[in-house]
C-alpha cells in the first residue's frame, strides 16, 4: 500500500531544440515527460547525444525550453519571467556539474566559491557568519576548513567535486540536479561522492535528478530510472524494474554492455547490439506496460512487452 507521494517535479512534453528552423537544427530533447517524487532520486541514463544533460539544463532554466511544461512544486517554471521569481527558483533548485576541473573558477578561493550563493541571497549578515557557514559546509562534505583559503587547482578531482557540492548546498535547496557528477572521477572516489550524496539526502531531505551514463551506479543510487536515447525517453520505471527487467531493445543493449568486476561473468557475457527500428508510421510514446513500468512503443507492441516482462520475472524467481 503506497501513500499518495508528493510530486516535486513534473515534466510534461519537454522540447529543447537548438538552431530552430535552420539546416543545422538539433532536437536535443524531443518531447519527454517524467515526474519525480519528493525525497527520491530519479536516475536519467543515456549515452552521449541522448539529451540527458540538456534535460537537466532545461529544467534548471539554463536554457529557455522550446516547448512543454516544467512544473516544480506546483508552479510552471518554464514560464517564469520576473527576476524575483527566478531568484526564488534558484534557491530551491541547484546543480552539480560534471567536470571538476572546469566547474570551479580557477581565480577564486574556495571560500568565495562556496559562499557565492550566500552572498547573492544575503544569507549571512556579516563576514563572521559567512565564514562559519562556509566552514560548516566544508566539514559536511568532508573537507577541512583550512582548505578554504586555497585555490581549486590545488585539489584532486574528488575534492573539487565536493567543493561543488558544498557550493550547491550553500543556498539550502530542496532539489539538486546532478549532471554526471561522478563520470570524471576515479572509481574509488565515485563511491565517496555517491555516499556523500546519499547521506545528504537523508539528512536534508533532498530530492535528486541524477544524470549519468553508468547504469550500475545509477541503479545503486536511484529509486526510479529513465533511459534516454536520441532525445526520447525509451523506458522508465523503478530501478529494479529497469535494471533487472528492462525490455526495450536499447535498454537491453545498454545493460549487456556494462562491465562488472567479476571475471566469471565477463567471460560469459554476450553483448546485445541495438539496431534502431526503421521509421514506420506507428505512433510511439511512453506507455505503461506494468504498474509504474513504462516503455516507448506503439499500441500493438504493448502486449509483446508485457509478455517479455512477465517471462523475465518468472525466470528470475526460478533462479
Amino acid at each position: 500500500m503506497s501513500e499518495k507521494r508528493k510530486v516535486l517535479l513534473d515534466v510534461k512534453g519537454l522540447k529543447q531544440y537548438f538552431n530552430v528552423g535552420r539546416p543545422d537544427e538539433v532536437r536535443a530533447v524531443d518531447d519527454i515527460s517524467f515526474h519525480i517524487y519528493e525525497g527520491e532520486t530519479f536516475g536519467l541514463v543515456g549515452e552521449s547525444g541522448s539529451g540527458k544533460s540538456t534535460t537537466g539544463r532545461s529544467v534548471i532554466r539554463l536554457y529557455d525550453p522550446t516547448g512543454g511544461e516544467i512544473i516544480f512544486n506546483g508552479d510552471d517554471i518554464s514560464k517564469i519571467r520576473s527576476k524575483s521569481g527566478m531568484q526564488a527558483f534558484r534557491r530551491e533548485v541547484q546543480m552539480i556539474f560534471q567536470d571538476p576541473y572546469a566547474s570551479l573558477n580557477p581565480r577564486m578561493k574556495v571560500n568565495d566559491i562556496i559562499a557565492e550563493g550566500i552572498d547573492i541571497n544575503h544569507l549571512a549578515k556579516d563576514a563572521a557568519e559567512r565564514e562559519s557557514k562556509v566552514n560548516e559546509l566544508l566539514k559536511v562534505v568532508g573537507l577541512d576548513p583550512s582548505h578554504g583559503t586555497r585555490y581549486p587547482h590545488e585539489f584532486s578531482g574528488g575534492q573539487r567535486q565536493r567543493i561543488g557540492i558544498a557550493r550547491a548546498l550553500a543556498v539550502d535547496p530542496r532539489f539538486i540536479i546532478c549532471d554526471e557528477p561522478i563520470s570524471a572521477l576515479d572509481v574509488s572516489i565515485q563511491a565517496q561522492v555517491v555516499n556523500l550524496l546519499q547521506d545528504l539526502q537523508k539528512d536534508a531531505g533532498l530530492t535528486y535528478l541524477f544524470i549519468a551514463h553508468d547504469l550500475s551506479m545509477v541503479k545503486h543510487i536511484s529509486d526510479r530510472i529513465g533511459v534516454m536515447h536520441s532525445g526520447r525517453l525509451l523506458e522508465m520505471g523503478s530501478s529494479d524494474d529497469v535494471y533487472n527487467f528492462g525490455v526495450h531493445p536499447y535498454t537491453e543493449s545498454l545493460l549487456s554492455a556494462i562491465p562488472l568486476p567479476d571475471p566469471d561473468y565477463e567471460r560469459t557475457r554476450k553483448r546485445i547490439v541495438y539496431k534502431p527500428q526503421p521509421e514506420d508510421n506507428k505512433e510511439r510514446k511512453l506507455r505503461e506496460i506494468t504498474p509504474e513500468h513504462y516503455v516507448y512503443c506503439s499500441e500493438d507492441e504493448v502486449d509483446v512487452y508485457r509478455k517479455k516482462i512477465e517471462e523475465k520475472k518468472a525466470k528470475a524467481t526460478q533462479e
Binding site: S188, V194, L260, E266
Partner: protein
C-alpha cells in the same frame, strides 16, 4: 600463453622536479609482462600508472628523472638508450594508444596516411605498399567502407571509430608490446564494449602482449589475464585475474572492489575508501595507504611492508599477511568473494592453483 618474458621492469624509481620540491612519483616498481598476455595496471589518478608506461616508452617530460631501476625489453635495458635508438623501438616494437581519440589523431592529415606513416617509416616500405597495408588494418579494426574512407579526415569519424583508427596505427607494425593507457575511459559504454572486444580479437591475430591501464575494475575483469594494483607510486598487489578478484589480500584492493556496485545491487551503501591519494611531494612513511586504511596497524606507519607471497603468481605488500598480524575480517563484499575462491579451489581436484 607461454612464459616467455617480453618486458621486465625492475625497481623503477622516478621523480619530478617541481617548484615545491622533488615529487617521488614512482617509488620502486617491478613487474613482468609475458608473451601473449594482457596485464592490467589498476590505480587511481596520481598513483603513477601513466608515468610508469611513459617511462617504458621513454616519453617522460623534461623535469622527470629516472633515479634508479632497469626496464628490460627482450632482455635489453632500454633506460639508457638514446633518443635515436628509442625511435626505432617506439611504434614498431612497443606501441601506445591513449585515452582521448579526439586529440590522438592529426586533424589535418587523411587517416590512410596516418595509419601508413608508421609502417613506411619503420619498415621502409613504399607509399603504395604502406597504404595497402593501412587498408588491411582498417578493415581489420572494423571501419566500414575502408577503401573509400582512406582519404577522409579524423573529424569525419565518430569517437569510437577514431579509437579504432588509433588502434590500427598502433598495430600496423605488429609490435611486441601494446600499451593501452585508458583507451576506453572517454567512450560510451556500448562503444567501450566494442573496442574491448576488438582489442581481444586483435591480440589473438597479431599475438601482441598488452599492458592495459585503467581505473575501471569492470574493464579489468573483461580483458586482463593478470592484474597489478598500483598505489602511491608502488605496486601493492599483483596476481592473476582470478586471484585479484576472488582472493584479494591488500586493503586497498578490498577498497577498490568494495566501491563498485554489485550485480545483485542489494547493498545500502558502497564501501568507500575515505580521503584522497597521498601527495607524493611528502609521501607518508611506511605503507603509503595507511592514512586511509581502516585496518592499519602501528607498523604500517613506520615501515613499508615487503611483498608476501600468497601463491607463485600472487603477492601483496601488506603487513596483514605477516604471521604476527591479527586475523581481521574484511568487508562483507570481500568475504563473499573469498567464499567463491575457497569453494572453487576445494572442489577442483588435483590441487590446481
Amino acid at each position: 600463453m607461454t612464459m616467455e618474458k617480453v618486458l621486465e621492469v625492475k625497481d623503477l624509481q622516478i621523480s619530478f622536479d617541481t617548484f615545491a620540491g622533488k615529487v617521488n612519483a614512482i617509488r620502486g616498481v617491478s613487474f613482468e609482462l609475458f608473451k601473449g598476455e594482457t596485464l592490467a595496471i589498476v590505480g587511481e589518478s596520481g598513483s603513477g600508472k601513466s608515468v610508469t608506461t611513459r617511462s617504458i616508452m621513454r616519453l617522460l617530460s623534461s623535469n622527470a628523472n629516472i633515479d634508479n631501476g632497469e626496464i628490460l625489453f627482450k632482455g635489453e635495458d632500454i633506460v639508457h638508450k638514446t633518443e635515436k635508438q628509442m625511435q626505432t623501438i617506439r611504434g614498431k616494437e612497443i606501441a601506445m594508444i591513449f585515452q582521448d581519440p579526439m586529440t590522438s589523431l592529426d586533424p589535418t592529415m587523411p587517416i590512410g596516411k596516418q595509419v601508413a606513416e608508421s609502417l613506411i617509416k619503420h619498415n621502409k616500405v613504399s607509399k603504395k605498399e604502406g597504404l595497402d597495408q593501412a587498408l588491411e588494418l582498417l578493415k581489420l579494426v572494423g571501419i566500414p567502407n575502408a577503401e573509400k574512407r582512406l582519404k577522409n579526415y579524423p573529424h569525419q569519424f565518430s569517437g569510437g571509430q577514431r579509437q579504432r583508427i588509433v588502434i590500427a596505427i598502433a598495430l600496423i607494425c605488429y609490435p611486441e608490446v601494446l600499451i593501452a593507457d585508458e583507451p576506453t575511459t572517454a567512450l560510451d559504454v556500448t562503444i567501450q564494449a566494442q573496442i574491448l572486444e576488438l582489442l581481444k580479437d586483435l591480440q589473438q591475430k597479431i599475438s601482441t602482449s598488452i599492458i592495459f591501464i585503467t581505473h575501471d575494475l569492470g574493464v579489468v575483469a573483461n580483458v586482463a589475464d593478470r592484474v597489478a594494483v598500483m598505489y602511491g607510486g608502488r605496486l601493492v598487489e599483483v596476481g592473476t585475474s582470478e586471484e585479484i578478484f576472488y582472493n584479494p589480500q591488500h586493503p586497498y584492493t578490498w577498497g577498490l572492489l568494495g566501491s563498485m556496485p554489485t550485480m545483485e545491487g542489494t547493498e545500502d551503501k558502497l564501501y568507500a575508501i575515505p580521503g584522497s591519494p597521498p601527495d607524493l611531494l611528502d609521501p607518508p612513511k611506511g605503507d603509503a595507504f595507511y592514512p586511509r586504511n581502516e585496518f592499519a596497524m602501528k607498523i604500517d606507519a613506520e615501515e613499508a611492508p615487503p611483498y608476501f607471497e600468497v601463491s607463485p603468481t600472487h603477492k601483496a605488500a601488506t603487513w596483514l599477511l605477516a604471521p604476527q598480524a591479527p586475523k581481521i575480517t574484511p568487508p562483507a563484499e570481500i568475504v563473499r568473494r573469498w567464499a567463491i575462491y575457497a569453494e572453487r579451489h576445494n572442489t577442483t581436484a588435483g590441487g590446481v592453483k
